[in-house]
Symmetry: C2
Subunit: 115 residues, 2 copies
Amino acid sequence: MALLFQSLDDVTRLRILALLLEEEDLCVCYLVAVLQLPQSTVSRQLGVLKSAGWLKDRREGVWIHYSINRSLGAIQQFLVPVLRTFLLGTETARGDLERLKNLPREGGAVLPGTR
Amino acid sequence: MALLFQSLDDVTRLRILALLLEEEDLCVCYLVAVLQLPQSTVSRQLGVLKSAGWLKDRREGVWIHYSINRSLGAIQQFLVPVLRTFLLGTETARGDLERLKNLPREGGAVLPGTR
DNA sequence: GGACTATATCCGTAAAAATGGATATAGTCA
DNA sequence: TGACTATATCCATTTTTACGGATATAGTCC
């Protein structure tokens, strides 16, 4: 159980969760663009969230899309509403979502080379 | 918010919370005896939980009693039922509570020198 | 005051996590 | 096949956290 909370004790991971609670399905390149962090950092934290059971990934061509795992563990199911309520009000989450909204897109993907 | 989860990502701290969710009001010496950890470790983690807002303390003579803070923050209030539900079933919590039950007592205090 | 007890804090060390550039992997397109 | 892109993983370094013995603080009792 400590491990579960540990997966939530990092600002970057919470930012990712907040985004995926609102947007369902984002590819890594989006997240890199929105979070404005090095790709290796983002990928690593995505890996942590995935192995904690929060996220699942799905490859689509070159892109890998992450989304909230639909079959969360019992504790996580309790935590989702808490996260939704208290995370999305954050200034950080607000900024991230705003930045997401303004990303240059093409269909469902970030324009290649835009990063 | 990451800070709040951070206060829950340590096994010792969760053990302490589990005990105080069941027992309301325990002095440090009890906790040291039950957790079977060095006193400095227990005091340190109590300090973390206290400064995270989970606990409050009250001096009573030589003893300092800790208990769950009655005026928890909003997020914490949501988390308490989660902790109660998923923590108390644990094998660790079971063992700790059992050990607590079997401590030699006198009135409300551990027998002096028993530690 | 002095001996004793409970607790907090200090401090040097060890363990764990995060960081980010570099490299590896794997898919796409020509 | 080769060039290119997205992503994961590696690795050396830094930052954070935990640890626990030792010491300091503070209350109690004689």
